[in-house]
């Protein structure tokens, strides 16, 4: 089964996250990853939802999402060329003697130090899910104290884009 990344433009209204999350829960759709934030317009938020399933399943998810009045537009980003990113922050145990070594690993992943404690280092790192996983694994032997990860966000490549200006009214495709 493939993973699909859906870019969902929604009304920036209270309760919209509950509506979407509730829909997934009651229809038995599992969310792999979810990230929400407002777009360049303050009345529109964008959710990036990653779900796993075959084509009919994804179609059903999309159609059910469309039924929510607050959902304005849905694009299955995965059907096109796209870039995606996650952000992670990791606090790792770092005795002064280990710091150079750890900083070297971080360098490989282009992670940045965002905080320094007497016995810890805190990194931020962005990248694809795979890269973030690899970074986490590389730091694990030193002792991860804390880790926080955002959901995935994604965008189409090239001049294509998912925005309201493209289609002022939501298209309902014929099944």
């Amino acid at each position: 089964m493939e993973k699909h990344t859906l870019a969902v433009l929604v009304e920036n209204s209270p309760g919209v996250l509950t509506r979407v999350a509730g829909l997934f829960a009651r229809r038995g759709f599992n969310i792999d990853s979810l990230a929400v934030g407002r777009t360049d317009r303050d009345d529109v938020s964008r959710m990036t939802i990653v779900v796993e399933g075959d084509k009919p399943f994804i179609e059903q998810v999309t159609k059910q999402l469309h039924k929510l009045i607050d959902v304005i537009k849905i694009s299955n980003i995965t059907e096109d060329e796209y870039v995606d990113r996650e952000l992670v922050m990791i606090k790792v145990t770092a005795e002064p003697s280990q710091r150079v070594e750890i900083m070297h690993i971080a360098g490989i992943f282009r992670a940045r130090v965002v905080d320094l404690g007497s016995k810890t280092l805190t990194f931020e790192c962005t990248g694809t899910e795979g890269k973030i996983n690899a970074f986490e694994e590389s730091l694990r032997p030193y002792g991860i104290k804390e880790l926080v990860r955002t959901g995935k966000i994604a965008m189409l490549r090239g001049s294509k884009y998912v925005a309201l200006s493209l289609a002022p009214s939501r298209e309902v495709e014929n099944a």
Binding site: Q60, S169, N174
Partner: protein, 555 residues
């Protein structure tokens, strides 16, 4: 003007003539504003569930949006069953609930419940009105969303202090909802594809659901069926969407469908689904449903297409509009062989019951049909009696059956009959067929019925049992009748009389033959307690796990 006054103004602009409701502290301002309305009639029910079912019955019969008001907390939670019922059967309702003042929201205040949270999965949309100035837009949108596309209930929760706030009133003339644009017009290329498939089909069957009634497409459905010589089967929700005495009519299909409908589905090579959703009580075993058929599915809700069954030709849109475009493209084909086969199936497997022992419920429904000839609005409750109505009554006119399909909600019948009677011109025949279990769930609404002077005839099919569940126990629990045989019943006749309703008892076929016509023609409400055998089962029936073609005929 206050928000409460503005709300009443909005309702008047939406041509609301009747609201059902029950007052309380949180809706005090709304009721006070309602006091001054000369255009809107308020019907005081005896329980909020009765209010929402009545609004539902009103909406099903009139085709208009039903409106119901309840107070915060318990008033709001009492609506929940009725909202779920309307949601499952796609009935347009707008519900108003009172809420605690904004400042108290989230504090577990007296009579506070999160009703928008509770009803999230059972409303088409809902609103918590926090900004008083938004009231007109929200009400406008709510009526629009409830009534258009696939209809459904919409709830607006109004905090008490919002209802008291002062706003300047301007009712919007148009609706702007960028996330809501139902598709009505069918794709032309799909329509011509369907016309071609119909031309080629040898054994077409039309499977028509509630969407035909919602889109008022009964006339077009009849034209289509006759034009292509295709037999028509109705889902339970679709009943009354096709004339019940038409030679092409197969009756209801599915779990308790006629054998000939189920066998026609099994043998057909083209299945045209119209405004139906391939519900599990229809499809039974998915692998043996219409195994030889090319499936065409026309529905206004894109999410229903492909949800249950893989479709060869999906088409999103309004059934009526699509049929209107399809009809001119259709060529006549001789299908006498198929129609002969259908006739043979009908002759081989007619609906039947044994009249030997006692007064049979099927007999009563047959007599009911003979007396009314379909010129009545039939409301039912939920259980065996409901299925006997579906099987033995022949509906003639659209919207002449009012019943809880998707939720199967006992207690729907009586309040729904109140709503139905209020939707019709005075004197219209409204007949409630109910069960001894169901009626006791909302029996308090007899008072509403009398208060409103409604002419509802109540036929109680009294088997001293929760018959439908009793039947399940018969088949699936080796006859262990746990909690389905009533050990006590009130004197139903005396009970009806206590409400001022003339009441009778039928015990024999003769009682029915003699008494029913007079009963139905009597002015005003009347009640009859029909004593029927406890052991009667609804047949045919498709046993659990079996395919639709494998119904059994006898217990």
């Amino acid at each position: 003007m206050t928000v409460a006054e503005a709300l009443i103004e909005c309702l008047e602009r939406e041509n609301v003539e009747i609201v059902f409701g029950y007052p309380g502290g949180a809706v005090l301002p709304i009721y006070d504003a309602l006091y001054h309305s000369t255009k809107i009639k308020h019907v005081l029910v005896r329980h909020e569930q009765g209010g929402v079912h009545a609004a539902d019955g009103y909406a099903r019969v009139s085709g208009k949006v039903g409106v119901c008001i309840a107070t915060s907390g318990p008033g709001a939670t009492n609506l929940v069953t009725g909202i779920a019922n309307a949601y499952m059967d796609s009935v347009p309702l707008v519900l108003f609930t009172g809420q605690v003042p904004r400042i108290q929201i989230g504090t577990d205040a007296f009579q506070e419940v999160d009703i928008t949270g509770i009803t999230l999965p059972i409303t088409k949309h809902n609103y918590l009105l926090k900004d008083p100035s938004k009231l007109p837009v929200v009400v406008k949108n709510a009526f629009h969303v409830a009534a258009t596309g696939r209809p459904g209930p919409v709830l607006i929760d109004i905090p008490k202090d919002v209802a008291q706030a002062i706003i300047s009133f301007k009712y919007p003339s148009t609706v702007k909802l960028r996330g809501y644009k139902p598709t009505y017009k069918g794709h032309p290329s799909k329509i011509s594809e369907i016309a071609k498939l119909v031309g080629k089909a040898k054994r077409p069957v039309i499977y028509a659901g509630g969407g035909v009634l919602a889109s008022q497409a009964s006339e077009e459905l009849l034209k289509l069926a006759e034009a292509i010589s295709a037999p028509v089967t109705n889902t339970f929700m679709g009943l009354a969407g096709f004339p019940g005495d038409h030679p092409l009519f197969l009756g209801m299909l599915g779990l308790h469908g006629t054998r000939y409908a189920n066998l026609a589905i099994t043998e057909c090579d083209l299945l045209i689904g119209l405004g139906a959703r391939f519900d599990d009580r229809v499809v039974m075993n998915i692998n043996s449903f219409a195994p030889h058929a090319t499936v065409v599915h026309i529905d206004i809700d894109p999410a229903e297409i492909g949800k249950v069954i893989a479709t060869n030709v999906p088409l999103v849109g309004d059934v009526k509009m699509i049929l209107k475009e399809l009809l001119p493209l259709i060529e006549k084909v001789d299908r006498s062989e198929w129609l002969e086969r259908i006739q043979a199936l009908k002759a081989q497997y007619p609906l039947s019951y044994d009249r030997e022992s006692g007064l049979k419920p099927q007999f009563i429904i047959e007599q009911l049909w003979k007396c009314t000839k379909g010129d009545a609005t039939i409301v039912t409750d939920v259980g065996q009696h409901q299925m006997w109505v579906a099987q033995y009554y022949h509906f003639k006119k659209p919207r002449s059956l009012v019943s809880s399909g998707g939720l199967g909600c006992m207690g729907f019948g009586l309040p729904a009959s109140v709503g139905a009677a209020l939707a019709l011109p005075p004197g219209s025949k409204v007949i409630l067929v109910t069960g001894d279990g169901s009626i006791q769930m909302t029996i308090q609404e007899l008072a509403t019925m009398m208060e409103q002077c409604l002419n509802v005839k109540i036929i109680l099919l009294n088997n001293s049992a929760l018959g439908m569940v009793r039947q399940l126990q018969e088949y699936y629990c080796e006859g262990r009748h746990m909690a389905t045989h009533f050990q006590f019943h009130p004197d139903f006749e005396a009970l009806a009389k206590a409400y001022g309703i003339p009441a009778y008892t039928f015990k024999t076929e003769e009682d029915v033959i003699k008494g029913l016509p007079e009963f139905l023609d009597s002015p005003g409400p009347a009640f009859v307690n029909c004593i029927i055998p406890r052991e009667e089962n609804v047949l045919p029936m498709v046993p659990a796990g079996k395919g639709i073609g494998e119904s059994v005929e006898c217990g």
